[in-house]
Amino acid sequence: MRSSTFSSSQTPTSGALGRVGWVALLVAGVLLAGAEWGWRRRGFQPGVKDTPELWSLTRAQASAEDGRGVVLLGSSRFQGGLVPEELSKALGGVRVLQLSINGSSSLPLLEDVADDERFRGLVLCEVSPTLFFSVEPNEVRTRPAQYVAGYRHRTFLADQETVLRVALQERLVLLLSAVQPQNVLRELLVHQRLPLPSIGRTLATRQHLSDLRGMDLKPLRRMWARRYQGAHGQTPTPAELEALLERVSSHVARLRARGGDVVFVRMVSSGAVRRIEDERYPRAAYWDRLLERTGSQGVSFEEVPVLARFECPEDSHLDTRLAPEFTRLLGHELRRRAPGAVAAGGP
């Protein structure tokens, strides 16, 4: 039974199509160029989308070549407070990859690189106490676990798509979520104004930049205090802590067995957030035990005078403008304190 219709066989004339096509391309080009210029004038800057696919792409580099280099496993404190290029310089030109995930524990990421026989470099593992020691299952563990699962099932094509997208995103303001048509419309209808530049943006290296200048920091401080008090999960029982330390020790041992190493890092926190962290996770019971059980080196900001002088404007994260200096100083401290571990990262 021949029942199909083929409207594609009734193609309009090429003259009309050509005119429509060329005019549309030209006008769209002008409009897009104008919009790009306009958004930039309003203070917008290009930024990439910090997606699981971008994480996968970066993660794949950690296992490439000889598997050496430094990987940063942590949360937004690492993403915003450390500059991969600066750390690379401070450690003598090693490859530094930012694998931290916003609002996440570094533990599933440590597990992932420990499982990966091809990786044998240095892990800088952030210990943000409420994230690292919290009891699972909770979001701070499941999110990075999903990233890892996505990485293990990624395809060549997905990587290439991410490469292409990132190349465009880091050049065009037009690709920011904030200036998507529906968001512009929403902003116009709800707030009767055009969108304002976001305080944060991500670079292709997955470094996160945030500009808090001119912001009222009090609500942010309150929000972080609330979150650190309750939202990151429960404090572990002694047995749970013991199991966690055992788990971490085995990861560290596996990495060391093939020439890699792990240095734990505690990033700066200030004000109420620091008080909460110290109260819920006393240093002696958690940080010191972690270093003792794993036999690893650790750098905690509070015990290094040059790092201890840094303050977080909203109590939880370093100011982006201070990140290069902080990174440099941390790099120097690492070389001073753990030269053997730094050597694992490669030349």
Binding site: M1, R2, S3, S4, T5, F6, S7, S8, S9, Q10, T11, P12, T13, S14, A16, L17, G18, R19, V20, G21, V23, A24, L25, V27, A28, L31, L32, A35, K49, T155, F156, L157, Q160, E161, L164, R165, L168, Q169, L174, L175, S177, V179, Q180, P181, Q182, L185, R186, L189, V190
Partner: protein
């Protein structure tokens, strides 16, 4: 590889470049076959052998069928094709569903048996190429077609990448004759094909994913308690989302095929302006509904054995059509609802046709409105992840939401969704029977240029969350 990706644009540009080379027609068909295999392997190369198994098996079975001297042998050969094709589909697509339901049945009956759960990855496109391949064998069995002589052409028919993953479900007689003559797109075909691609990706990326999907996802998430407004907005939004998603994919497929000089059949024709449910199924996923009609409904006896048998055949066809969409009872209910709508329409048609007003504009408008509302209602079961969610939404739609319900959507979200779907309905009503080329020619060129400009701008700037085309999962 999806049509709304940058890698696809690159792939298309390279494939078109290779297709334009001054090579023999046979060499260019080989190139298309290689490109199609790469396109498929980009998802999961492990399933490529499965696709080639289906191609090879039906190719040889059809030849053997044609050469068979006895009806018994022909039946056996057809049986082999049906068992092999449908068996693979059943194993990969319905394996977990069948094992879970069997175990549930055993448990209910108190039978101390446990069937091991079949947990396999669903090979993309299997529902589509299985139906295409079966159509070929069935056509040869019925004597409507002779086995095609070129294996290359037959392979290209099943694997041609524009339609491979999510249709349209192409029939052998629609595609294979196109392989006989050298095909190279004219300039007009190339431009029109690209325009269809832009329109399709716009429908998918901007309308379906950007405007409608977030609202739908919120209301249909398990545990959500929508109020009546939110439930109706979500049902409306999903009706728009699935149309833009699937019709958008079909437009892309037709457009891309045209860029290579091939014609694929239309898959949608203003379905939301349908004057009844049989009309709806002549306009929605046309290639599937006509496949089900020709190979299932007619094989069951169609309308040749009296009204009762006709109604049973309709119900069976729609129930199986529902199941084709996914291994879940919610899809079966969706199909069942459409079966009931079709049966009700057949029963009521004589009475309605006797009413004078029903034949006028008011009657036509009422028919479109009733059809659309019922279709929207049925979509709830199609979209809901489980019956609990479906019943929550349906309950809210009929005003039965509890006092704590609501607060899921802003008024602006609902307004945008309703406006988008209203524009979609108005356009479909206005251009109910007009094919796209005629619509294009009926509007001034500057209006078309304006629309294409707006689509291009929206496409570049709409870079939200990537979602797979809904029909990929089927």
């Amino acid at each position: 590889m999806v049509f709304n990706s940058l890698t696809f644009l690159l792939f298309l540009a390279i494939s078109l470049g290779v297709h334009a080379l001054p090579l023999s027609w046979r060499a260019r068909k080989v190139n298309l076959l290689v490109a199609s295999s790469l396109f498929y392997a980009a998802w999961n190369p492990l399933f490529l052998p499965l696709l080639w198994y289906a191609i090879t098996l039906d190719w040889f079975l059809a030849r053997a069928l044609h050469a068979a001297r006895t009806q018994a042998r022909r039946k056996v050969l057809l049986g082999v094709s049906l068992v092999s094709n449908l068996g693979l589909l059943a194993f990969f697509k319905y394996g977990p569903f069948l094992s879970d339901n069997t175990n549930a049945l055993f448990q209910a009956l108190g039978v101390p048996l446990q069937v091991p759960r079949v947990d396999v990855v669903l090979p993309v496109a299997i529902s589509f190429y299985t139906f295409e391949s079966l159509a070929y064998t069935l056509d040869v069995y019925r004597g409507q077609e002779k086995p095609w002589r070129s294996f290359l052409d037959f392979s290209l028919f099943l694997t041609f990448f524009p339609h491979l993953v999510a249709g349209p479900i192409v029939r052998p007689h629609d595609f294979l004759p196109q392989c006989l003559e050298e095909r190279r797109a004219t300039l007009a075909q190339l431009l029109w094909g690209l325009l269809l691609l832009v329109l399709g990706v716009f429908e998918k990326t901007v309308l379906a994913d950007g405007l409608l999907a977030p609202l739908v996802d919120t209301v249909f998430s398990p545990g959500a308690q929508p109020n009546a407004w939110e439930a109706w907005s979500a049902a409306l939004a999903f009706s728009g989302q699935i149309f833009c998603d699937f019709a958008g994919y079909s437009l892309c497929a037709i457009g891309v095929a045209l860029c290579f000089g091939f014609h694929l059949p239309d898959n949608f024709q203003s379905p939301y302006a349908s004057l009844g449910f049989s009309d709806f199924w002549r306009r929605w996923h046309i290639s599937l509904s006509s496949w089900l009609r020709d190979y299932l409904y007619i094989s069951l006896g169609g309308n040749r054995h009296g009204p009762t048998r006709t109604h049973v055949n309709l119900m069976l066809t729609m129930l199986l059509g529902g199941l084709w969409h996914g291994a879940s009872w919610t899809f079966v209910v969706w199909g069942g609802l459409h079966g009931l709508f079709l049966v009700a329409e057949r029963l009521l048609r004589p009475s309605l046709e006797s009413l004078r007003w029903a034949r006028g504009p008011a009657g036509r408008f009422a028919a479109v409105a009733v059809t659309f509302v019922c279709v929207c209602f049925a979509w709830v079961f199609f979209r809901a992840p489980d019956f609990g969610t479906a019943f929550t939404v349906v309950k809210a739609m009929v005003g039965g939401a509890g006092t704590g319900a609501g607060g899921l959507l802003s008024r602006l979200d609902m307004l945008l969704a309703v406006l988008t779907v209203s524009v979609l309905l108005a356009v479909q009503w206005r251009y109910r029977d007009e094919p796209l080329p005629r619509i294009f020619e009926s509007v001034p060129w500057w209006a078309s240029a304006g629309a294409v400009t707006a689509m291009l701008v929206a496409l570049v700037t709409a870079t939200g969350v990537d979602r797979a085309f809904i029909y990929f999962q089927f």
